[in-house]
Subunit: 402 residues, 2 copies
Amino acid sequence: MIRLAPVDGGVTAAAGFRAAATACGIKASGLDLAIIVPDAPAAAAAVFTTNRAQAAPVIVSREHLARTGGRAAAVVVNSGCANACTGADGLLVARETAAVAAGLAGCSPEEILVASTGVIGVSLDAGRIRRGLAAAFPSLDAARHAEAARAIMTTDPFPKEAAVRLETPAGAFTVGGMAKGSGMIEPMMATMLAFVTTDARVAPPLLARALREVVDVTFNAITVDGECSTNDCAMVLAGGASGVTIDDGTYPLLVRGMRAVCERLALGIVRGGEGATKLVTVRVAGAASPADARRAAKAIANSLLCKTAIHGGDPNWGRFIAVAGRAGVAFDLDRAAVSIGPTVLFSGGAPHDERAAEAAAYLKGREIEVTVDLGAGGRDEAVVWTCDLSAEYVRINAEYRT
Amino acid sequence: MIRLAPVDGGVTAAAGFRAAATACGIKASGLDLAIIVPDAPAAAAAVFTTNRAQAAPVIVSREHLARTGGRAAAVVVNSGCANACTGADGLLVARETAAVAAGLAGCSPEEILVASTGVIGVSLDAGRIRRGLAAAFPSLDAARHAEAARAIMTTDPFPKEAAVRLETPAGAFTVGGMAKGSGMIEPMMATMLAFVTTDARVAPPLLARALREVVDVTFNAITVDGECSTNDCAMVLAGGASGVTIDDGTYPLLVRGMRAVCERLALGIVRGGEGATKLVTVRVAGAASPADARRAAKAIANSLLCKTAIHGGDPNWGRFIAVAGRAGVAFDLDRAAVSIGPTVLFSGGAPHDERAAEAAAYLKGREIEVTVDLGAGGRDEAVVWTCDLSAEYVRINAEYRT
């Protein structure tokens, strides 16, 4: 018998973690520096952006995890400056950030992970980071998770926190986390950052495997505008304070808890997408392979024509068929089908436009599900979450520096 | 000595071609049927959408060209109805269209090419097509090219015609054409149709090769929103009335003429893109391969963040770097560069934001060029044309049926 229940506490919901946040002047106003600190160095893993233009903090955190074999004593995150496209200068400041935090945490610099989000092409101000870290460390407290979640926001319309407690035959443990999503006024890209903690005890290789598995079906299954930032990363720390040890047998429990947290955070990112008014679940079925299913779902989720149709409440099934047809996957028009909510609008090669009014009424809702069957004879499926595309998205992205 | 000069006359500028247009009631109002007829059956070639959801006219025209080996006695184009996703019914009407036109043209149905653009999921009304063809054939005239160009429009803001006359050591010949682009209110997709004619004499295999070569660097090098319709096609007819014969030696002359026409038509499609306010030339240099160059240029041209930055007049070089970095091509941040117009904003790993005002002034223009050097050590380049992304695009596509 396994019970999974949401709990409060975000990134410090798991026992043995504290957080702090401060305003150190990287942003014009507001909290802009957060730290997450386990009571003792914890197992750590991360996945980073696949963008070949990698920001300095991505390069440094990846190096540190490689050197320690997956251990971290603190995570330092700033908003307001991405420290990307900043060359050797940017790398120096990212390393200095780790060194200063190591001094305050009493660990080696390699045990510090760093992440940044904000303007591209501007190096972090080392002095501000130093003063911010000096202010943040003394105020570490498990109660400060909500401040930390606010400190990593850029133009996110709301902070994103989630946590769950699992009661299992192997014992009870907690997974929590926080994330920031798309919607930045000052910077160049919609960087996604996520930080997850657990009080389960997990060896670094298993933790890394769980993170990859969970990210694939959560953060990598969402899209706002199809972009991939220079700074994207998701990090997980496992402290062990619960006394529950994860091994090959209990691994599925860890994945289940991490997936529950990351899915909530990921859906929060989509709900808070730039200009978003609707959360859209794109389900692709009848695919010849899992890769085809994912590819078609991503094509639909990133299609301007599909996203604007949903924004306008238009049950425009032809756009979904046409995008599935051009997605580069096995597709059979005569066996394909499109449903908007529960309403089948196209199947067996024939439209059912007499049901358009029913689908239009459904589209007035805030949470929309669209299902496209590729008719390719397979049984593979995929789900991708996205948001609609509004004129507000254009306004935010066309006018943010003017 | 080769001289190439623009001439009037669009799709009937070449000797030996006539056109006609009529309003047969497929659209609520206005011209909706065009025919292009050579004086005698002409060599013909076409390229069709790669979308796996292929409209009935695409299926029928492809069949006909295969059966005749590349010969056509007339082209029939309607707007207002795409005859796509219409199953067996749609195929029947497309075949009936060809049969009726063949009766009027005095040829076999296989010598008729058909094309449609308009609402998906609705079959053509055979009676309207019959009456339209009966009205159009008697009015065929070389002077009616402009009417034909208007009859194939959907929400195109203006008709697109182009023609050039080439004077060459091999003799003088003319290439002309018309196209419709993106921007349809009623239908589902931004179908692109193009029809090119020439009075050069060209064997069908050479004509097909020229069309593929020219389409690759013109119609396939433009993008409005990254979509590919169920109905896209480009067709070319070569009659031979000029007396100039194209062989392997004079093939480059044909390509030069067709490219001049198709590039003008393609740029017209981009200028008339839905909600477009600027024509954007995306030039990618320093690529490791031609495929990398094209892929990066397409990624930038389709990036919402790049398109909205240009719309807003924001010299946001970081967006171009970040999209190049995620485009899946060889890329070196330390050697990459971004120029907006003549202004280098990022190079050698360092921003030149002191030049931002200069670039912002340039971005106020209607014709914008952005150059991204991938820094990948190669010398390959590619050009892709696109338009900016405006709130008007969202309005058109979100609200067109409401």
